[in-house]
Amino acid sequence: MKSKPPYFWPLLALVAVLLIDLILAPSFFAFTIRDGRIYGSLIDILNRAAPIALIAVGMTLVIATGGVDLSVGAVMAIGGAVAACVIARPSDCILNGLQLPPTAFYAVAAGLVAAALCGIFNGFLVSRVRVQPIVATLLLMVAGRGVAQLLTNGQIVTFTDKTLSSLGSGGTLGLPNPLWIAAFVALAVGILCRRTALGLFVEATGENEEAARIAGLRTRAIIGFAYVLCAVCAGLAGILAAADIRAADANNAGLYAELDAILAVAIGGTAMTGGRFSLAGTLIGAVLMQTVTTTILTRGVSAELTFVLKALIVIGVCLLQSPVLRSRLRNPA
């Protein structure tokens, strides 16, 4: 008997939630086409899940190395703030000294570079200084938001550039751009990990770092890479979030994003202890959570309940994945 892929149970849960929607409100699956773009609850779910999915892809690799990155929410804020500052050039902003041309390209590039620097900082602390990941990234989780606020002087920086804002709110071939971007990044990371030996190296490092080192892997570089990739994903998500509302809000951008991303990874069947990871599972996890949120909101259930219901579903999926419980159910002796 071939064992089920790690994303089997979250996929089943996703199908179950969608079935409930189908029964309760068939209009959930309705599509309309306006101005050459497809609208509908399903598209909306995917669009809203995109930023978390993006972060969760990077988070999957970090968790697979046996670590965790709590700073992704703050890095989102930094990425958005840098992009907004480059393009809007608010007075007194220290980034003005860089004299970057205020175009969308430089805004995005500067945001990603800033995020990558955050990742290098995390990776350095974890792989070289050997600070425990949860502590190391907690530093930037706290300080990073402060950095973003310093960049924006505590103000919400607004911009009007059409190219940049279309990244967050525009569409291509009928589908929203964040969805395309998230799908592209997930696919690229998937190919990078599974068509090369990088995925195996990450898994080996997370399984047994000392054995990996002895076997010839550059474990510190691998761990550092995971944190940089994760931060760049977070920075990109921050840019998309800022582009969507044409503003960088350093106080609120990416708030609790780290928790949603970690949940998506956990639901997707990647163990928090490191080792084997599943990007497909992570993506399904991110979509599942957004589906639940959207379902609850469209059913008119109070928003407060959302979090509790989400938690229940997460527990359910995790229990289904638990080998202990499954063997109990199979042999109820």
């Binding site: 190296f201 399984e207 047994n208 990996a212 010839g216």
Partner: protein
């Protein structure tokens, strides 16, 4: 005398194989019973079945005549059946005293009585005749000392319950001779108290030294059981392997020409590190097998760590490779470490991935091996080293210890290193596997690969090596080559300076 523990007709199936097929075992109080068999013969599974770790598919277990169906290891312990596993189950970050008290910390009105924890731990160690400071962290102890702590815990555990059966799974594989003698004293004392002891070991001499009866398993079946007198040495080996092995047939170092003109791979001059090992002076050439002989803790593993770059030397000179592990890898060196669980395997990853990781690391992440190439290499390794696994995608953590060891060897053989450092590669593996492994070493040596070979078994070192470095008290004391390599010489070098008995 009625058996303390009697298992009859035990059957255990795993997907694709029958691990135990109608196996019976009977242990009498006051005997040492050796359980013998090669890797994968079913020894571990049988132990797991009688201790409640797994439940058998068929068969009956009785303890003192009463039916016994353990659901969890806890049940077995409560009936006085305790196990010391080969892979020690200690908490490395806790001190010895707390490890010994785990699960039964004495509580008073003001919380845990720490003083009592310490005194009890000292008493438990004293009972097996060991003095280890109980405040030391277990992780800081040598493997041998950790083993003794684990034995002390099993003997002492739940003092309220009588110890009926003590299962020792490879207890001596990390002990030096003095420690083995001390352990056997404890074993005999427990036996005289009426405890039944099940002793699993690959050291045949030790089995005959300590055991009263022997049970032999092969491929999940019971092939022989009887008193030590009924199953002599050669018979035992033949029963275990199912084939006759001529133990004397291996050629010694004397018959082996040393390749005088071959290239020097690594040269160490007075290499040392404080508190670790000193005076390592060696020249390793292509086609060499450099045996490291010496007692446990004599500095052999420490020397390996220096040579490979896991530790940085603070004195002496080393030529032949760049600094650190990366220097070793670039020079084409490999290391099979002593501690397989901590430094060797990736338990959740497949056998295939475990075998290919070193070669893949050599190629870099951007040049993955093709599926076909992977299959070819893995199938070849599995066949050549006779690794027993259902298929290459099986998680390596589910294989037996000996098969894991072979897989780690296969990992390096696939990477085709110029020099492979083998630290106790034969520890805990059976005779047939040893022969497979040593055969590979000799075959590769003659094609120009070099080895450093650490083993506690002197005949193996003598048989395999072109030169032998002797370690004593964390110093390399001498090197023997060619005709001067024989057991008496090495033993004399190891024992030199030791008080004569």
């Amino acid at each position: 005398m009625a058996p303390v523990l009697e298992a009859t007709g035990i059957v255990k199936r795993f997907p694709g194989l029958i691990a135990l097929d109608q196996v019976s075992l009977s242990l009498t109080g006051g005997e040492v019973h050796a359980l013998m068999g090669e890797n994968g013969a079913g020894k571990s599974t049988l132990i797991k079945a009688v201790t409640g770790v797994t439940s058998p598919d068929a068969g009956e277990i009785r303890v003192e005549g009463k039916p016994f169906q353990p659901r969890a290891p806890h049940d077995a312990m409560a009936r006085g059946i305790r196990t010391v596993h080969q892979e020690l189950n200690l908490v490395p970050n806790l001190p010895v005293a707390e490890n010994l008290a785990l699960g039964r910390l004495p509580a008073g009105p003001f919380g845990i009585r720490w003083h009592e924890v310490r005194t009890r731990a000292e008493a438990a160690l004293a009972r097996i005749g060991v003095t280890i400071p109980v405040s030391r962290t277990v992780g800081a102890l040598s493997i041998a000392e950790q083993q003794l702590v684990a034995i002390a815990r099993a003997v002492d555990r739940w003092a309220g319950e009588p110890l009926r059966v003590l299962i020792l799974d490879e207890p001596t594989s990390s002990l030096d001779r003095a420690e083995v003698v001390r352990l056997f004293d404890v074993v005999r004392r427990l036996r005289n108290e009426g405890v039944a002891i099940l002793f699993v070991s690959h050291f045949l001499d030790q089995v005959y030294e300590i055991s009263d009866r022997i049970t032999v398993l092969r491929n999940g079946r019971l092939v022989a059981t009887g008193t030590v007198a009924e199953i002599p040495h050669l018979e035992l080996v033949q029963q275990m392997t199912g084939r006759s092995i001529d133990l004397e047939s291996r050629s010694g170092a004397r018959s082996r020409a040393i390749l005088g003109e071959s290239t020097t791979l690594l040269e160490a001059t007075s290499l040392g590190k404080r508190r670790s090992v000193s005076d390592v002076t060696l020249t390793i050439r292509a086609g060499d097998v450099v045996g490291f002989a010496g007692l446990l803790g004599s500095g052999r593993t420490e020397a390996i760590r220096l040579l490979y770059g896991l530790d940085r030397a603070d004195s002496g000179r080393l030529t032949g490779r760049g600094p650190g592990i990366r220097g070793s890898l670039r020079a084409g060196f490999g290391l099979c470490p002593e501690d397989r669980k901590r430094q060797g395997i990736f338990p959740q990853l497949s056998l295939r991935e475990n075998i290919l990781i070193a070669l893949q690391a050599q190629r870099g992440w951007w040049r993955p091996l093709t599926k076909g190439k992977q299959r070819g290499l893995v199938d070849d390794a599995i066949a050549r080293l006779r690794i027993a696994a259902t298929d290459a995608e099986q998680a390596i953590g589910t294989l037996s210890g000996g098969n894991q060891q072979k897989a780690i060897l296969a990992r390096w053989l696939a990477a085709e290193p110029k020099l492979l450092l083998l630290d106790e590669p034969t520890r805990g593996i059976d005779i047939g596997s040893k022969a497979d492994l040593m055969g590979e070493v000799e075959r590769l040596r003659s094609s120009g690969m070099a080895f450093v070979f650490v083993s506690s078994e002197m005949p193996e070192v003598v048989a395999a090596s072109t030169q032998v470095a002797v370690f004593r008290d964390r110093r390399m004391v001498s090197v023997f080559a060619g005709a001067s390599v024989d057991e008496p010489t090495l033993l004399a070098a190891i024992a030199e300076g030791a008080p004569s008995p």
